[in-house]
Symmetry: C2
Subunit: 392 residues, 2 copies
């Protein structure tokens, strides 16, 4: 006989899921109601409004996809592209590669513009690709590369896409709620995010938003969207603005309670305040980590406050350190991914997890484990360095 | 400012979601852990085992898809089919039509075998289609048509598919946990279900299972699966049996806690006991509903105990009755769907909602509302008729 599962209580400082606010866990467990219940439809309308506020957009086509961020990515590509379309993808980490997979599986062609992992997307190379490919339908880029911790200037990239009459597509899985993101101001045509990063919600949903220009492309497709489940022309009969909502698929009711609550919390804090909090905790974290003698992969200018790729000396056994943190401190940090596997840790300070307590815990726990591994580190000095940032 | 959402407490007797066991809501709200946490991987292994027990299968490729039942359907078709394949679909309601949409969006051809809505799938017509289409790759059918309440004999249908060297695909969204379903015994090659029906879990996941024959077809595809998110050749690096699990997408951690708990509850009750309970409550419900003078759409032999399509006199205003039940009794029943919209109600007795309290509530509430609408009904006689079934 298998028994009920009672998870250990962790501190989640990996690349996501991040620590979930207890208010959100409580919201998640509220009684399930029908996906066509008038009370639920009202909550859907509120969620849409809250998402528009979080994305800083007035896009009518704004909603959460009923599946994780990867499905949000697929929603964007599969709805915007038709067979034979060409898309410029700026890749500087794992998720640009996933975009390529998505584009190709739509029967479209991916034109790759590659940058080093850990660097920001090179604006000049992107513009050159736009110039070289006047028939490209879209330019796609990742705002916050979760695999490396690098921020790219999607505002400038989307402006360039518009200049060359291209749609712009932005992956904001790790950026929404953590750093400045302006969907309307930057002219982003299609964007997708995740719930388990800086929104501190449980994983499983993917907020998306489309400009009117992108929505028109979807409405006027020649071929059907290859995914029935993700076909926005159908989904909008349920999520659209009409008073009458038609069944498409059964919405993940309780997960949507949780997303609503996470967005209420974000609204209470204020978007700018949330960005500021992420920046402050990051500064304190950097002070501590650098005092421990560790290095950041990404240059300061393009470093994400919410996702810190930290490299470690060759002498250190990656797996043993992470296991010690998990077993002795119930603290999860992330391993490297793709090209950076085995050479970096990815330490998240996302959403609810971006707080002083976690910063100090991580510095002192990691410092102690590294000391036990034989590295000459001054843990109390590192903790003091972080503390000093808060005091200043 | 938008505030936290507190849903009304409903009794859910529609076509799903059904009432969720409070144990499952509590499990849902347990602290989130990482999707690669060793404790979580162990829970995944248990979930797989519990799903195998619920499906009565030893299929290695058994797991929950990280999205609702419609995505489970899409997982099956998109992984098994390649462009140009032909699939026989036996349709006797809405969900056969959705299968057709899925098949066509895979670039495959759907050969439709149509039966009346509310009837069971005609075995002879299905065999004729198999005979007429020797090149068909698969035969697909719905075990429990949620749009009509009809059960089809998928055991016989899958046997026929095997005889004609076809893969068999079964929609078990509304049947799993509610009526007899034997994946191995019946030779089902691919099956998908939902969590929000007879498992009484929250909506958002879709358990699937594939025979070794079907798994081989997926492994040996010539073309890539058109959905990256649903590509089982990739997903299995995360859900597969290897000790080392690779990240594919971020699993919906808390929803998976809930599914695990719902399967633990099913194991505690025993699968056969759960089927028996659904049958008993259905019998009591029928006695009450027929005493109210209402008729069932589906012949007794093929009637689903968990989803009751009940027709009502033309004089009755469908929407007004359902609104009265919702407002005065906080009771949700379902409207008709597709061809049956406006002429039937779909009343679910699924999973945790299949209990004596709900049966008696529904008969007495519906009876009272119908009386207020001017129908000559004897509510106490109807309640007594249902009670008598329990007493016998």
């Amino acid at each position: 006989m298998i028994r009920s599962f009672h998870p250990p209580v962790r501190t989640l400082m990996g690349p996501g899921p991040s620590d979930v606010n207890p208010r959100i866990l409580e919201a998640l467990s509220r009684p399930t109601i029908g996906h066509l219940d008038p009370a639920f439809i009202q909550m859907m309308d509120e969620t849409k409004l809250l998402l528009q506020q979080a994305f800083l957009t007035s896009n009518e086509l704004t909603m959460p996809v009923s599946a994780p961020g990867s499905a949000g990515m697929e929603t964007v590509f599969t709805n915007l592209l038709e067979r034979g379309d060409r898309v410029i993808i700026c890749q500087n980490g794992v998720f640009g590669g996933r975009m390529k997979e998505n584009v190709e599986r739509c029967g479209a062609e991916a034109i790759m513009v590659e940058d080093l992992w850990g660097s920001t997307i090179d604006i000049d190379k992107a513009e050159q690709a736009l110039r070289d490919n006047p028939d490209a339908k879209a330019l796609a880029c990742v705002h916050a590369e979760t695999s490396t911790g690098a921020r790219s200037d999607v505002g400038v990239l989307c402006g360039l896409a518009a200049k060359y009459d291209c749609l712009s597509i932005v992956d904001a899985v790790t950026s929404l709620g953590g750093i400045e993101l302006q969907v309307d101001e930057w002219g982003i045509d299609a964007i997708y995010s995740g719930t388990q990063k800086c929104l501190s919600c449980v994983p499983g949903l993917s907020p998306v938003s489309f400009s009117e220009r992108a929505a028109k492309v979807i409405r006027e497709r020649k071929s059907k969207v290859q995914s029935w489940f993700l076909d926005l022309n159908l989904v909008m009969a349920y999520w659209g603005g009409d008073a009458k909502r038609s069944y498409h698929h059964t919405a993940p009711v309780n997960s949507l309670y949780a997303l609503h609550e996470s967005l209420v919390i974000l609204q209470e804090e204020g978007l700018q305040n949330a960005w500021h909090r992420h920046a402050l905790n990051h500064d304190a974290f950097v002070a501590g980590i650098e005092t421990l003698g560790l290095k950041f992969v990404v240059d300061k200018e393009y470093r994400l406050p919410q996702l810190n790729a930290v490299s470690f000396p060759d002498s250190i056994d990656d797996g043993r350190v992470r296991t010690a943190l998990l077993n002795d401190y119930s603290l999860e940090i992330g391993a490297g991914l793709g090209a950076l596997a085995g050479s970096v840790w990815r330490i998240g300070l996302m959403g609810y997890a971006s707080n002083k307590k976690n910063v100090l815990l991580c510095i002192s726990a990691l410092g102690n484990v590294l000391a036990a591994e034989g590295l000459a580190v001054d843990v109390s000095k590192a903790v003091a360095a972080a503390q000093a940032v808060y005091a200043s």
